[in-house]
């Protein structure tokens, strides 16, 4: 592992923060304090591995709803996240307009995405094209689930990127489920990475529970993209450790044994073990980090709870760019 120890620790911390915040969201949901949560638990390695491979805040991100760890890693604060969950005005994704986890973080070059899956994929291609036309040296990281790769929208996005040779890294977080459907109900191939050969882009499948493996694969793709080598496809294989969302009941379509089995390869545990083996992390340091993170999460919840809701009339704007000033004035 050629990554500096402090970077490895930083990656681990990002995973743990995402996990603790995510767990807290489930509690908030049980407490009736939020109406909806869609979870990234089980995806932390895939996300942190990918996002640490780009220049955070400089490169662009076109994410999907599970990417809590990515958003935290590029600088969304926990309080901002919780405000989004609660539909508070301070929600940086949309001022309370979008459902929770429909990201956007302008200051960090994270574009706004919607719920219809794979719609953000062609946007990544377009950003890549713009980067190429302007002669900039940025790259774009974009993510979807494996189910979303069944959409023609995703196919066209990758194909355009391949033909136009633009700097985009397409990461697919294959968590073995699209709500209730397994990958064999989505595709007649064994791995999402096989789609690369039909599109003429380099494709690779990595263990998505190993943050460093994901990092290495993404780093290579990012470097290639930045050097003008065009797009890549990376499948990170992991497991959705929670129901699809707080509205789902996964007991109708998968066994408890299956879920338990996958807890053994919980990406946070895997990373913890790796760092312990490399003597980068001790049990004590871990406990301290965890306590600190938990305090940070509680503070975020406290702040978010105290934050104001938007006024009803804020919903009137901004339909058009000309109204952005109006919108700003109304919640100033």
């Amino acid at each position: 592992m050629d990554l500096a120890q402090d970077v490895q620790l930083e990656m681990f911390r990002a995973m743990l923060l995402s996990r603790r915040l995510d767990e807290r969201a489930w509690v908030l949901h049980r407490q009736g304090k939020i109406a909806f949560h869609i979870s990234g638990i089980g995806h932390e390695a895939a996300q942190v591995g990918a996002v640490f491979a780009i220049r955070r805040g400089y490169d662009w991100v076109s994410p999907y709803y599970r990417d809590l760890a990515i958003l935290l890693a590029v600088g969304m604060t926990p309080a901002e996240f919780v405000m989004g969950m609660m539909g508070k005005r301070g929600d940086p994704t949309s001022g309370g307009r979008q459902m929770p986890s429909h990201w956007s973080l302008k200051r960090a070059n994270v574009i706004s995405h919607s719920a219809p899956v794979a719609t953000q994929s062609p946007h990544a291609t377009g950003i890549g094209l713009a980067i190429k036309l302007r002669g900039d040296d940025r790259v774009v990281l974009t993510t979807v689930g494996e189910g979303a790769t069944s959409q023609g929208e995703w196919y066209e996005a990758v194909n355009f990127a391949a033909v136009l040779q633009v700097p985009v890294v397409f990461v697919v977080q294959n968590n073995m489920y699209a709500i209730s459907e397994t990958p064999d109900m989505q595709m007649a191939i064994k791995s999402v990475a096989e789609k690369a050969c039909g599109l003429g882009v380099p494709g690779i499948s990595v263990d998505g529970t190993d943050v460093f493996a994901v990092y290495r694969a993404c780093q290579e793709a990012v470097d290639r993209a930045r050097q003008g080598g065009g797009p890549s496809l990376i499948e990170a294989r992991t497991y959705r450790m929670t129901p699809h969302s707080s509205d789902d009941d996964d007991r109708t379509y998968r066994s408890r044994e299956e879920v338990e089995e996958h807890k053994k390869s919980d990406p946070v545990l895997v990373a913890k073990r790796q760092l312990e083996e490399r003597a980068i992390l001790t049990e004590k340091a871990y406990a301290e980090m965890d306590a600190q993170i938990k305090a940070e999460v509680e503070e975020a919840v406290r702040q978010a709870e105290q934050a104001p809701y938007p006024e009803a009339e804020e919903a009137l704007h901004p339909v058009y760019a000309e109204e952005i000033r109006l919108a700003e004035a109304s919640h100033a």
């Binding site: 929600d91 309370g96 307009r97 719920a115 023609g152 459907e181 109708t252 919903a315």
Partner: protein
């Protein structure tokens, strides 16, 4: 007559049609073991098996396009779109293909297909789990568009849709899935696609609505009745083709018209109802044709204060009725 919820009536309608005709099958995302994300198909996979209740890949165009092909062969597919907000990837197949097939082939090929989709807001779904999409389809000759507002119609219209030789879009007011309850006749019956229905006769003004807004309109009508305003309520039910006769007959009687929908105002379905009245009911009118609809913003915001601002509700409808009645 047994009472049931809107979604139970829809499920029962599908169940009976699957039972009746082996050419009927369901295709969509998570419709199998999961029974649909709203549980509309619950139990059907277990009862009819994976050949009749098919979990498809996550692609709406594929679902509808595959449905069209199967319909051309003579099957009767019921395509489920998980949320109406996700119907747009299939727009080309619905509008350019299903709708135009009969006409373009001079009647050689028809598409007997039902597309079901839950629609509507007020459920904390934000911009992409709340949309009303009917106006994108009530402009397309070759399609039929229905929206039930109560369990009886829901079951009866669903059965008609499945048996219809044309593509039928069947939009389900999802906020009413469990909220709206009502009696459903025992035994076999259908509700015809085509006619609107006067659901509350009245003499002072006509209120036209459908789906959840019809449910609210009935409540609003009761409110204003106590104040001495006798509103006629018309459940439009079949939005396309437009039942101009029922609309105009009501206006002939009352002289005033209010149209209510939760879709955006401009270019919404209410525009056609208003235009119909302005063109063919002009001489019956003694007041402007009014529309109460969602404001012209791109979607229903998630946060509650903004969602409430967006959505029409019984109070807003009652206010609009009062206002028009006093014209």
């Amino acid at each position: 007559m047994p009472e049931m919820t809107l979604i139970e009536a829809i499920r029962q309608g599908m169940d009976e049609e699957l039972e009746r005709d082996k050419d009927v099958f369901i295709i969509g995302e998570d419709v199998g073991k999961r029974g649909g994300v709203f549980r509309a198909t619950m139990g059907l996979f277990e009862k009819y098996g994976p050949q009749r209740v098919i979990d498809s890949p996550l692609a709406e165009l594929g679902i509808v396009g595959t449905g069209i092909g199967a319909a051309l062969y003579g099957m009767r597919p019921i395509c489920e779109i998980q949320f109406a907000d996700f119907i747009y990837p299939a727009f080309n197949q619905i509008v350019n293909e299903a709708a135009k097939m009969c006409y373009r082939s001079n009647g050689d090929w028809t598409v007997p297909m039902t597309i079901r989709a839950p629609y509507g807001g007020g459920i904390g779904g934000g911009l992409y789990h709340s949309q009303s999409v009917e106006a994108s389809f009530t402009h397309i000759p070759g399609l039929k568009v229905v929206v039930p507002s109560n369990p009886r119609d829901a079951k009866g219209l669903l059965k008609s849709a499945v048996r219809d030789p044309n593509p039928v879009l069947y939009f389900e007011p999802k906020k009413g899935y469990r909220l709206i309850k009502g009696e459903v006749p025992e035994g076999e019956y259908t509700v015809p696609i085509g006619p609107a229905q006067v659901s509350r006769p009245g003499k002072d003004l006509s209120v036209f609505a459908y789906g959840m807004m019809h449910y609210y309109t009935l409540q609003a009508a009761e409110k204003v009745a106590a104040e001495g305003i006798d509103a006629e309520v018309v459940d439009l039910r079949t939005l396309y083709p437009v039942d101009r006769e029922t609309i105009l007959a009501s206006v002939r009687k009352t002289g005033k018209a209010l149209i209510v929908h939760e879709d955006n105002l401009t270019g919404g379905y209410g525009a056609e109802v208003a235009a119909t009245i302005a063109e063919w009911g002009f001489q019956d009118l003694d007041a402007p044709v009014r529309r109460l609809a969602a404001p012209d913003v791109p979607g229903v915001p998630f946060s509650h204060p903004m969602q409430d601002w967006f959505m029409p509700n019984p109070d807003k409808i009652a206010a609009a009725i009062r206002d028009l009645a006093s014209f």
